[in-house]
Symmetry: D2
Subunit: 473 residues, 4 copies
């Protein structure tokens, strides 16, 4: 708010009120300045009003929104629907250019700023979560984890040269992981985790053997995962990193929803300190409470050129939505809000585990011992003897509980040409039927209480059904 404007407005309302208004206008400018220089999340959360003002100012920096603009190109950022226009705040040009998906766009200064600032904030958010040496640059991609893994693997393959053909993967039963590899035009080699107690742990030796068998030059990367459904534990990423370094093989960590766990971030941190980690991929929706559709890629210090390779590998422009969602959200959280969310989740995990343990004891089940999984937990469903365990899941869903996952050993599924015995359990012969629940970021104590209450009722009813079914058979 320059002096001329103040003068003009002072002809309409009192100069001293205008001068106070100017003070706040300067404060809003100050937010932009601080973001640009500190490249870090604001300490305090910003209110929606401030964020919206910032977005409208950014929007007014895109040429399609210039007052009096005449567009005669083939793409002028026009929108037909005002509903659509509103949801992108008039920033219609997307992100990136043909050369780099994070590059600035000449026609869209505001969109470019939002995207660039988002990259800085995302990098800071990862650091605050515990991934301290996150590398020079964090890439915010408008693709969810699966497609992002594909892009990373494609880029890594280019880097590693023509012989690269295989990806070795520590089994984690989600189709997406398999398809991320095949979509990259690579072949997947599945290494099943080993069962120790209740827990499924990385078979590092088997991975090493596989590399040796295939020849390290033909292996583009080992893909490990941090976050996963219990009873699978976080992979032994540190050991794997050391081994990959030793054998000169790429190593990509699928840190899908691991950012929300200090323990997992710490392990990533350690992994890229002690060994080789080429890239770490994380979901924006699962960690940052935004809609599905984005992922963050970072490379630590080990393969700093890879991050640029991924950015330049992306062909053409892309949607700005994921980046803008994250930008808004990180401003809205502020450092304080983000750290509080992380801390609350840690507490929540303990609380959920305690409450579920109580339920388990009451109903004659037990929690599986999975100390290596700080997010997901599993309870046995040993009572499901005469009735289909999946009915238990349906009963929960109809009582408005979503997100539990009932797993029965024994199913076989073929995905991308690979056969998975015991699909769902990440193991071909897991000894228990169980269901999982997650203490994910954003879950509340109230959620846990209501879940536990519904669980009690459901067990009761389920056992009645099971008994009836046993009697009938």
């Amino acid at each position: 708010m320059d002096d001329d404007l103040c003068d003009a407005l002072s002809r309409v309302v009192s100069a001293r009120y205008v001068s106070r208004a100017k003070q706040n206008a300067n404060a809003v400018d100050g937010v932009f300045k601080r973001l640009s220089s500190s490249r870090a999340m604001p300490k305090e959360p910003l209110g929606d009003d401030v964020i919206e003002l910032m977005l409208h100012r950014l929007s007014s920096m895109d040429s399609n929104n210039f007052i009096g603009n005449v567009g005669v190109g083939e793409r002028e950022g026009r929108t037909f629907s005002s509903l659509v226009r509103r949801r992108c705040f008039g920033m219609t040009h997307g992100i990136g250019r043909s050369g780099d998906v994070a590059a600035e766009q000449p026609k869209a200064c505001g969109s470019s700023l939002a995207n660039a600032l988002c990259g800085f904030l995302a990098r800071d958010a990862l650091k605050l979560a515990g991934m301290r040496d996150v590398g020079k640059r964090v890439l915010v991609l408008p693709t969810a984890t699966g497609m992002t893994l594909t892009l990373v693997l494609t880029s890594l393959k280019k880097q590693r040269g023509v012989e690269g053909r295989y990806v070795i993967w520590s089994r984690l039963d989600q189709k997406t992981c398999v398809k991320a590899v095949t979509c990259a035009g690579l072949e997947i080699v599945v290494i099943e985790p080993v069962l120790r107690g209740d827990q499924l742990e990385t078979d590092v030796e088997a991975i090493e053997r596989a590399i040796e068998n295939l020849g390290s030059e033909r292996v583009v990367a080992v893909v490990t995962s941090t976050s996963c459904f219990a009873p699978r534990a976080c992979d032994e990423i540190e050991k794997t990193a050391k081994m990959c370094e030793r054998l000169d093989v790429g190593h990509v960590i699928n840190n899908a929803y691991g950012v929300q766990s200090r323990a997992l971030c710490e392990r990533v941190n350690k992994a890229w300190t002690v060994g080789r980690v080429d890239a770490v991929v994380q979901s924006t929706d699962k960690n940052f409470l935004v809609p599905v559709g984005g992922a963050l890629v970072c490379c630590g210090k080990r393969n700093e050129t890879l991050i640029d390779e991924v950015a330049t590998n992306y062909p053409g422009r892309a949607s700005a939505y994921a980046s803008l969602d994250l930008f808004i959200t990180l401003l809205s959280m502020g450092e304080k809000g983000w750290v509080r969310l992380l801390t609350e989740r840690e507490t929540l995990y303990e609380y959920m585990r305690e409450e579920l343990s109580k339920v388990a004891e009451e109903v004659g089940e037990r929690m599986l011992e999975t100390p290596g999984n700080p997010i997901s937990m599993a309870m046995t469903l040993s009572c499901a003897q005469n009735v289909s365990p999946t009915m238990f899941g349906s009963m929960l869903f109809s009582r408005l509980v979503s997100g539990t996952r009932v797993v029965t050993p024994g199913e076989t599924k073929t995905i991308g040409g690979v056969e998975f015995r015991g699909f769902g359990a990440s193991h071909s012969a897991y000894p228990h039927t169980y269901f999982t629940a997650a203490a994910a970021i954003g879950t509340t104590h109230d959620d846990v209480d209501r879940f536990a209450a519904i669980l009690r009722k459901t067990f009761l009813e389920f056992k009645v059904k099971a008994a009836a079914s046993a009697a009938a058979s």
Copy 2:
């Protein structure tokens, strides 16, 4: 966007793109500056993006929205619901102060600016519509026409002194007018218009007689109306103005939806040139396509102190919604859009009259001759002999036509203690049954076409019913 901010942003994206963005930021500042200095509508319509940016900037000028503000008063503009916050753009303090409903508020510079600028724009809009000598100030009140008339009459009564007790009113059958008078603590004296041909015209002589009978010092005002349902014509406001001047009696024109008609504006213009007009009241919703809830008051040059009296008469603060709706709308129209709307309405009136005349001829009815009403028109419903005419209205409504009004002579109604024979027709013995339709601002050619088509079908079906009913009786 000052140089410091440009520098900061230039560390994130290219300086030359930032400098182009600055060019547009200056253009947005320029809009504020021009509004403040010209006090007139912008020539060109402004896009929603620009308007929204302006609103968010204004909002950031209210102290409750200052970053870091700590409110410890009894009214700090807090909102509980984000939906509510959004719909007022965070401008929660309303308008006015205890001293004047249009006064600026120390805590709410942005809201005050919006309200003050709206007053300027509204004044300009009235002038562009043809009310050239609108006076120094136009008041945007957060009350619809009825309550606004009450406030004007209350203020006028104060001005005219203790003896004022009566309001003489040229009959127009809407309850609101009667209640506007009684709510002001005044008594209404109804003067019925005279029937000339099809048209109902002001009985100026009867008004004069009434004043003489009551004593002019006891008459606060004569209230005339411009816009009304056909077959009533616009009142003889020029003659009434002259008479009021001669007899030293107040004169308030209810110009409810007359702003949209050049002919009516011209007559108001003439009235306050040739005689006495204390205040003219117009609806915001009916003339400016905003939601119900606001009115404009202007006083011409005749009673310039009255407008301030009305403003200071209003006790305390008031809702900013009506003012903000109008502000947004006038920016969105621009002078060009507003003038085009007015012109289109004139054309539309002719078109509707032609199309309805065709229908009338086809079905054996006729349009009532009402040259003194440039907005509303009426068609006879002589076929409604054996069936209730109101059924005709219902049939239209169920075919999705809203806004027609079927009038049957003969009903008597008592409002505020006053008996109205032939209520609905503004006359105690109007000779025809008819229905009305209006060529109001915003109506489209497509509306007229669809209306005419539905009308044809409805007449057909109605006549069948009437015939059946006649046969049955």
Copy 3:
């Protein structure tokens, strides 16, 4: 969601997912049904998504939003600006009809429903706050407290007959109260409160003497207030109620922001049990955290016809904004949220008083003893000897504290022809300079902490200035 629709959608996605969706559609219908039958706030807060869906459904019930509607009336609810349309959710017809400001509108079923339901919710909210016998009907008016008082007094005057001319008012230094009386065409008689200790209390005897002097038939009402700035206490509304009953004089309680205090609600409750209370007026913005512009009127059981009189007295339609803001807010709070807000405020009051007492002690000032005011509190500003006390307020404001009010004895002001000595203090000779702060609904512990911190700094700096000024003089 009827079966036909389920079938249709099941041709696009799986029938079992559609059937789950139907379950939730039924739940949303259930909200409408419960509101309609219980006429009470929902127990649990509703999310913004649900509320917005409800609003869009209500909007689709207004005829201007019917698919295929053809409007040919003079008022068809058209909007020019999509920004404006959005902020009223397409409900443009306002509220009320000429007969009653709360009456349903034939063209606007949805708007009418929203307004009627809001009345029920508001009534319930008052009851939950402690005003148990609130009467059959609570009126939500689109006018702030001042104008609403005017409307109530106008209606009461009508009820009480032609001789009514005076309003006796227990002094409370806000211009609005005075103007509310004069705008109703009545004369105000000011009765100054008496000073007891630090506190200003109602001079009930003086009010009684005034009534006797004027003649009770000429007194329309005594106006008392509950909520006010310390050191003024809540008026002795119970004693006044008894006296008004005895003397057959109207009694209107200005309960502006008293709903938020259980103590004040309890006193209102007692007043209309033990004596005469014709109407109680409360602000929507100050009690319910909505924008300025609405008020609630209730009449208890004493004068049940008055509430209808106020509704029918209002001339014509009115803005729906205030009603809709309150409707949204009360759904968003739910009973649980509303009660929590009230409880938190009580706690906050104690906390603020403690924290300010600490500051006062540190800086050599003291809190005024005002046990009769459960919302506002005051601290002496005895250090303001050589410098203008108002500078203290400015210093706070520039440090982003809004809402404190510095009062220096001695100023004289004339409002509506009445002279007020010592204006601001509600007393002609209050012995202290002081400033006030309020523990109003929505204030947080963090607000108090920041306020106390800023206060400490400001006192320090202020004393330096005062010392410098003393040295200089």
Copy 4:
């Protein structure tokens, strides 16, 4: 709106108004039903209110929005920011599942419906534009044209088997096309178009020779383009299709912004009738006036399995934004609006060409003769002899004209390892300096008029500069 609900609401407002409201509720249901059964665009445009109601209803069908839902999974569709929540209408689960990017999601019935319906509408929109035999299914991908081409080529490569290694591409100077091929892990073979008159036309023979040289089994596809910058013409897609059929080579048409031209759609239509077309890719933003970030893929009847292959090839979930933007936009257009936009564009092209021809003649330039390009046109810039032609572009931009593209022969650029002489012109030795402008969908007559006016001024000034520069040198 079932009978129970009507009854409940009828206790609050009159039953007959509720029954009218029900009529419209049925009309909204009817829209859903018709979309589900006709799988076509609605004939008439839908208003924003109706669309928003539909979106909120769809949103309420996603389990994360169920009233009372308890989420205990790792991904529960939570959002932190209400701004973010609002822009996705609470539909946070994205689209697709690991098995198919267009598959329905168990937790997100509403999102799934929106996505599925969008696919139907998009298919209909392509047919209405002239691509009559568009195939059984149109895929709406959340990736812009470049990445979508990559996905299509990847899928086609899988289909064609392990030997596929090359893509033959009729040169069109945009980096994205090159990178789309390399990102798919394929090698690009560039075939330069031939210059005929002013126009650049496909060198079909050279393509055929290249296929023969490389071996057809090693060629995954020929990639041709329809829409492009003049003076390049639409590729000879019919001849290429015949040749690809003959040689058993894949053929992918990049129809980036060709949907908006009836001529180009007709050519696509003919191509897949007379020969081989495996897939056609089109941008959503350039054709449908939505933000950047989506593309449509269709396969005609030739390779019906490919479309499923592309869908299942996509690894995991994806953003729903592109699909939702398109869904909203197509509802908002209606068939009528979409067809009108297309027709207006055709007219606009003629108008722009005429107006620019006039300017060209006045300033001593000429329009390049490019009858094979129905969207883009080019004017010589022969006056740019002594000054940099790019300055001409900058001058236009600073006068608020965006979208022109100044091309000077002679620049060489290396992209993805391939050297392009004369980059920008799609030809290594184009004989003219020129600039382009496009008559793209959404451009208005007013845009053309303002463009022409600015162009005249700019030429004048540019020539002065050129003269000054010539004098100086």
